[in-house]
C-alpha cells in the first residue's frame, strides 16, 4: 500500500515536471515570414486572358485568385473577349498603370510581343501563360505544344500505320498564327513527314477553334475519304464538333481514331466515355495553376532588375485513353483547390 502511494506520487510529480518543462520551452518566430507577407502587401497581379468563360481560363483564374486572397495581394482579370485589339489596348494601359506582374495568355505568336517587351522595360514582370509569343519574358508556364503534336501524331501512326495502304489522316488546326496551331503542326510534321505508313489528306484551320467549323470540315473530308483513319484535333472543345460529324456519318466510336488535347477538365473524361475521342493529351490545368502561382511568387519577391531572370516551365503532360479512364483524373471548377 505504502509502496503504491509512493509510486503514484512519483508518477504525478514526473507528469507535472514534464508539463512545466514543456511550457517553459521558448517559441520562435520564423524569420522569413514577416518580410514575406509585408512584401506582398499592396502588390498587384493582373491576368489578361484571351477569353474568360472557358474551363482553362476559369480554372487558372480561380487558382490565381485563391493564392492572392490567401496571401493578401490584389488580383484582377482584364478579359480581352477574343479581341486581339482590345487585349493590346489593355496591355498598353497596364503599362502606364504599372501593376507588379502581368499574366498574359497570347492569342497568337506575334501581336503582343512588342507590348510585352515594353511592359518589361517599364518594370512590370510578365508571365506568359500556355500561349506564348516569340518574345521571351520573365516567365512562361504552359504546355510544350510541339510535344503534344508529337504525342498525338505518334498515337495516330500506331493506330493507322499497320495496314497495307497508308492510313489517311486529317489535321484540324486552330487560327494559323496561334501558338497552338503553329507549334502543334511542327510536332505533327516531326512525326508524320517522310513516314510512308500514313498519309495526311487534309490540313485545315477551324478558325477561332470553332466546333461548327471542325464539324463541317470533317464532313467534307469524310465525303472525299470515307476510309479516313484518324483525326488530329486541336482542342477538346473544338473536337466536340469533329466527333459530331463522325457520329452523324454513322461511324462508331473508334472507327476513326480521334486525338485531341486540352486542360484535362470534365469534358476530357466525358469525351472519352462517350467515344468522342480515343486519345487525349492533357496539359493539366491544376498543375499549371500551381506552377503559375509559384512563378508569380518568384516574380513578386525578385529584387533583381526585370528581365534578368527568365524561367520556362513546360507542364508535364498527362495522356488519357479509354484504358486510363477514371473520373478522378478530370478536374472541375469545384474540385480545384
Amino acid at each position: 500500500m505504502h509502496k503504491f502511494l509512493k509510486l503514484a506520487i512519483g508518477f504525478a510529480m514526473a507528469t507535472v515536471a514534464g508539463l512545466s518543462s514543456a511550457s517553459a520551452q521558448q517559441s520562435m518566430a520564423d524569420p522569413l515570414r514577416k518580410d514575406y507577407y509585408a512584401n506582398l502587401k499592396g502588390k498587384k497581379v493582373v491576368f489578361v486572358p484571351v477569353f474568360m468563360g472557358l474551363d482553362l481560363t476559369e480554372g487558372w483564374s480561380k487558382i490565381m485568385a485563391k493564392q492572392a486572397k490567401d496571401l493578401g495581394y490584389s488580383y484582377e482579370v482584364r478579359n480581352s473577349n477574343f479581341n486581339t485589339a482590345a487585349g493590346a489596348q489593355t496591355i498598353t494601359s497596364l503599362i502606364s498603370e504599372k501593376p507588379d506582374v502581368i499574366v498574359v495568355q497570347n492569342p497568337d505568336v506575334q501581336s503582343y510581343a512588342k507590348l510585352l517587351q515594353q511592359a518589361e522595360k517599364a518594370g512590370i514582370r510578365v508571365i506568359q501563360l500556355n500561349m506564348k509569343t516569340n518574345y521571351q519574358t520573365t516567365g512562361f508556364v504552359g504546355a510544350d505544344v510541339e510535344l503534344i503534336g508529337e504525342k498525338q501524331a505518334e498515337a495516330a501512326v500506331a493506330k493507322c500505320g499497320a495496314g497495307a495502304q497508308p492510313g489517311k489522316i486529317l489535321i484540324l488546326a486552330g487560327p494559323p498564327t496561334s501558338p497552338f496551331s503553329a507549334y502543334m503542326l511542327k510536332g505533327y510534321e516531326n512525326i508524320l513527314n517522310n513516314n510512308p505508313k500514313v498519309k495526311v489528306v487534309s490540313v485545315q484551320s477551324t478558325g477561332d477553334y470553332e466546333s461548327a467549323k471542325a464539324k463541317s470540315i470533317t464532313q467534307v473530308v469524310l465525303q472525299q475519304h470515307p476510309d479516313l483513319c484518324a483525326v488530329l484535333g486541336v482542342w477538346d472543345n473544338t473536337d466536340v464538333g469533329t466527333a459530331a460529324a463522325l457520329q452523324e456519318a454513322g461511324k462508331k466510336p473508334g472507327d476513326v481514331f480521334v486525338t485531341t488535347s486540352g486542360g484535362g477538365g470534365e469534358l476530357a473524361c466525358k469525351g472519352l466515355r462517350d467515344g468522342m475521342w480515343q486519345y487525349y493529351v492533357s496539359y493539366d490545368v491544376p498543375g499549371q495553376g500551381r506552377d503559375l502561382n509559384a512563378l508569380i511568387m518568384a516574380a513578386l519577391q525578385d529584387k533583381n532588375s526585370v528581365g534578368s531572370t527568365k524561367t520556362v516551365l513546360y507542364t508535364p503532360l498527362v495522356t488519357y485513353t479509354p484504358a486510363t479512364l477514371g473520373d478522378e483524373r478530370c478536374w472541375s471548377l469545384d474540385t480545384l483547390r
Binding site: G53, S211, G241
Partner: protein, 344 residues
C-alpha cells in the same frame, strides 16, 4: 420607282413567291450571282474529283444550312431597310439558355418556351429602340447584341461553351440525322425558306415590310403601321436566329457562345448582300438568300476539298463578294432614279 413597290410586289406575286420585286427586268445581281454560281459549280464538277456526288452536295448544303437560316432572318430586316447585328447573340444566348435549363432539370417545353420568350424579348427591345426611339438600327442592334452576349457571359452560364444535355436528345434530330437521305438541318433551311417566302410575298405584313423598306415616308402616308411593322421584323429575325441556334447546337452537340465574338455576322451579311438584297431596303427575297448561301457554300466546299489554307479561303471569299458587288454596280449603275433616300 419609289412608292410603287406594293404594286410591284403584287405583280411579282403572280410569278411565284420566290421572285424578287423591284428590278424585275434587266440583268440584276441575282442573275449575276446565279451565273457566277453555275460557272463555279460546273468548273468544280469538271475539275474536282469527288465534288459532284450526292454525298458531297448534301454535305455542302448541310455546312451552310445554319448560315442560310440566319440569312433568311437578316433578309427580312434588310428588306425593311434595317440591319440586325444582334442576330448572333440571339442565336447563341437563348439556345444556350435552353441547353442550360434542360440540363438543370426543367422540362423540354419549359426550356424551349423560355428560350423563345428571350428571343422575342430581344426582338422587341431592338424593334422599340429602332422604331420608337429612332436610334439607327446599326447602333441599336450592335449595342443590344453586345449587351445580350454580356448577359450570357456574366450571368447565365458557367462556361462559354454549353454542351448539349441528354435531356434534350428528344429534339436532337433537328440538327442531326436525316430523313430519306436529306439531312434535317437542310430541311430546316428549306422549311424556313418556304415560310419566310410565304410571309414576304403572300401576307399583308410581308408586303408592308417591302413598302416600309422601299420608302418609309410613303408607306406611312398610305396608312401602313410603320413602327409596329419594324418591331415585327426584329422579333422575326431574332426568333429565326434562335431557331438557327437550336439547329446549330443540336448539330455540333454544344453551343459555343463565343461565336458572338467571331465573324459570323459578316458571313450572314455577306450571304444577304451577295444574293442581291440591297442594304437600302425594299428589294430582294428568299431566292436571293438561297443563291447567296449556295454560292458561298460551293466556294468553301471546293476550297476545303482542295485543302486550301485558311487565309487563302478568306481571301477568296472576300474576292467573290467584291466581284459580285462590282459586277452589279457596273451593270446597274446608281443614278438619281434608282438611288433611294437613306442609302447605307
Amino acid at each position: 420607282m419609289q412608292g410603287s413597290s406594293i404594286q410591284t410586289s403584287h405583280r411579282s406575286r403572280a410569278f411565284g413567291i420566290f421572285r424578287g420585286p423591284g428590278k424585275a427586268a434587266g440583268f440584276d445581281q441575282l442573275k449575276i450571282v446565279s451565273l457566277l454560281f453555275v460557272v463555279i459549280f460546273v468548273v468544280y464538277a469538271l475539275l474536282l474529283p469527288g465534288f459532284f456526288t450526292v454525298g458531297n452536295l448534301l454535305t455542302l448544303m448541310r455546312t451552310v444550312a445554319v448560315l442560310g437560316i440566319l440569312g433568311l432572318g437578316m433578309a427580312i430586316v434588310v428588306i425593311g431597310r434595317g440591319i440586325d447585328l444582334s442576330m448572333i447573340a440571339s442565336l447563341a444566348v437563348p439556345s444556350a439558355l435552353v441547353l442550360m435549363l434542360a440540363a438543370s432539370g426543367y422540362s423540354v417545353f419549359v426550356a424551349i418556351g423560355l428560350g423563345i420568350c428571350m428571343a422575342i424579348g430581344i426582338g422587341i427591345l431592338n424593334g422599340i429602340l429602332v422604331a420608337y426611339a429612332e436610334i439607327p438600327s446599326l447602333f441599336t442592334t450592335l449595342a443590344v447584341g453586345i449587351g445580350i452576349a454580356g448577359v450570357g457571359q456574366i450571368g447565365l452560364f458557367d462556361y462559354e461553351i454549353v454542351s448539349w444535355p441528354p435531356q434534350l436528345d428528344v429534339i436532337a434530330w433537328i440538327g442531326r440525322g436525316s430523313i430519306a437521305g436529306l439531312p434535317y438541318s437542310v430541311l430546316a433551311f428549306l422549311a424556313t425558306a418556304i415560310l419566310v417566302g410565304i410571309f414576304l410575298r403572300g401576307t399583308r405584313p410581308g408586303l408592308f415590310v417591302y413598302a416600309s423598306g422601299d420608302n418609309p415616308g410613303a408607306a406611312r402616308l398610305t396608312g401602313i403601321p410603320l413602327r409596329p411593322v419594324m418591331v415585327m421584323q426584329y422579333v422575326m429575325s431574332s426568333c429565326i436566329a434562335f431557331f438557327a441556334g437550336l439547329v446549330l447546337s443540336a448539330s455540333s452537340a454544344s453551343m459555343d457562345t463565343r461565336i458572338f465574338n467571331l465573324t459570323w455576322i459578316y458571313d450572314v451579311i455577306l450571304v444577304v448582300v451577295l444574293g442581291g438584297i440591297g442594304l437600302s431596303g425594299g428589294r430582294g427575297g428568299v431566292a436571293n438568300v438561297i443563291i447567296g448561301t449556295l454560292l458561298i457554300g460551293t466556294v468553301m466546299n471546293g476550297l476545303t476539298i482542295m485543302d486550301v489554307s485558311f487565309e487563302m479561303q478568306n481571301l477568296v471569299r472576300g474576292l467573290v463578294l467584291l466581284l459580285a458587288v462590282l459586277a452589279d454596280s457596273l451593270i446597274n449603275p446608281r443614278n438619281e432614279e434608282t438611288a433611294q433616300q437613306g442609302d447605307i
